[in-house]
Amino acid sequence: MLSLTLGSIILLITLQLFVDINSLLEKETDVFAQDCVVINKNISVLQSYDKEGIYFSEKEIDELESQSFIKSVSPFNVATFEVEAQIKGAAGMSMLATELFFESIPDEYLDVPLDHWVWDEQSNVIPIVIPENYINLYNFGFAESQNLPVISQKTIEQVAFDIRIKGQGGRGSFRGNIVGFSNKINSILVPEEFLDWANQQFGKGPNQKANRLLVEFKDPSDEAILQYFNTQDYSINENELEASKLKFIFKTALSFSFLIALVIVILSITSVLLSFSLVIQRNVEQISTLFLIGFSLATIARYYRLVLGISTMLALTVAYLITYFIHELIASNLSNYFAWKSEENYLLIGAIALFGVVFTLGQWKLVRAVRGVVQA
């Protein structure tokens, strides 16, 4: 019974951790799971003269898409027009002006809240996402050296600036608003809808050539990913892949302890069954006499079933309570590090299921043993 309690504790806690870690990894995508990475071609000296080499051909994109571990490949959409941003001070004087570029990716790959990520032709405002790095570069590098004040993300989000667009198709002027900061994508992003429209309107039409690809993996912990990119002449941030391997390591470790717990539980179930056999063997005389004077097998087994039920229930209740507290402890620890709360609790279901398995097996063994005694 002690071993059953112990095995159940380990099994239940591993099960729950498995569920927790999975949900943690799913929610905290920007912390752990890099399901998407950006790839581009390495730029050599030669390509400084011949730019064509930096673009991905149809064939290359197809080949990437055909890899078993790749879920989707989407090219970055690049603006084919010039962009200038200005912040105006009092009396319409331009305080700060800079030339920019725009890119876009499908919305689902963005790692910022999409609340303000809308654009339509009527509204003059373009939502923009910039890399979080930019603001860090400014705050910790530029602002320090120029003796300028630091600015927070919130402040930047308050600032609206003018966007001027100049291209083959004419000029346009808009308002720009920074709505988020991306950790994942190192580019200045606008909604895809806007860029398609603007490329049509001001630029050279839809952009055909892709120089950067956003690759989404089915399972970022797949070994084949690293192998494949090592053989290709693509530039990829390996750190991103390493980070995604964390998931794999977690899963492996948990699977391993799950396996061990399973072995312990199986062993303890076996020992429970064995000890029941022993109890019955010790009472062979009584059981066979009871049967001889007219007691049915079911009546005889009922007593032992009760003992089995109570002891299993006891073991699993203790296991459940202990795992419950351990889990609470782990969950509160984890929530110190991540904005995450354990939502699904499988401990009770697990304990009930285990009880079901042990009790059913025990009962089966019991009836067999009792029958064995009376038929001997």
């Binding site: 009871l290 001889l292 004077i293």
Partner: protein
């Protein structure tokens, strides 16, 4: 009804003179009283065990007046009662408890009736004594009373008086007789020597 019955562990030569074993057909009627007469080792207990369904090691067939597929525990609760030669009492229970455990199953007798029977066989003072501390003769009486605490159509007695003096045997025989009359049941009793305690209808010899 028994047809060509012989325990698997007995040879044809051993049972040669038997009036039961290997006989084409032996009919035992539920309202008759039979005495099984044989020497030790000639298969008296085996025959009772075969009839009671707790010895399956035999060739031939046994047909009952009730369905052959009826559950063995219900047969033992309602049709057949058996006083085993080795008594099969629970040594860790008292004399009374040994009887009560059976009566709890059948609900055949009241507490008073049980105590009355114990009194008649002179065991009232011993009713709370552990079966293990009773003498063989006392245990024999407890086992018989236990066997009477159920409805039955046939009572199987395996040398029930082997450890009793004449006086106690008579008291016990009267008790059994009354129950047989009350239940209009038959009886099969084994014995080493001829006896007529129960006005037997037929004597079946298993050996010469």
């Amino acid at each position: 009804m028994l047809k060509r019955v012989i325990p698997t562990y007995m040879s044809a030569e051993e049972v040669l003179p038997s009036e039961v074993y290997l006989q084409e057909e032996v009919r035992l009627q539920l309202d008759k009283r039979y005495l099984l007469l044989a020497q030790s080792g000639d298969g008296k207990t085996s025959l009772l065990n075969i009839l009671y369904g707790c010895n399956r090691h035999f060739h031939g067939s046994v047909d009952y007046p009730w369905s052959n597929s009826s559950a063995v525990d219900s047969v033992r609760k309602e049709k057949l009662s058996y006083v085993f030669q080795d008594l099969k009492l629970f040594p860790s229970l008292t004399a009374l408890e040994n009887i009560q455990i059976k009566n709890a199953l059948t609900g055949h007798k009241s507490e008073e009736e049980i105590l009355g029977m114990l009194e008649r066989v002179g065991l009232k003072q011993k009713s709370n004594t552990l079966a293990a501390s009773l003498s063989l003769g006392q245990r024999q009486r407890v086992a018989v009373i236990r066997a009477l605490c159920q409805p039955f159509q046939m009572l199987l007695l395996d040398e029930p008086f082997s450890h009793l003096d004449a006086e106690n045997s008579t008291i016990l025989a009267d008790l059994i007789h009354e129950e047989l009359e009350k239940q209009r049941a038959g009886l099969i009793m084994t014995s080493l020597s001829p006896s007529n305690v129960f006005d037997f209808d037929q004597i079946l010899k298993l050996s010469l």
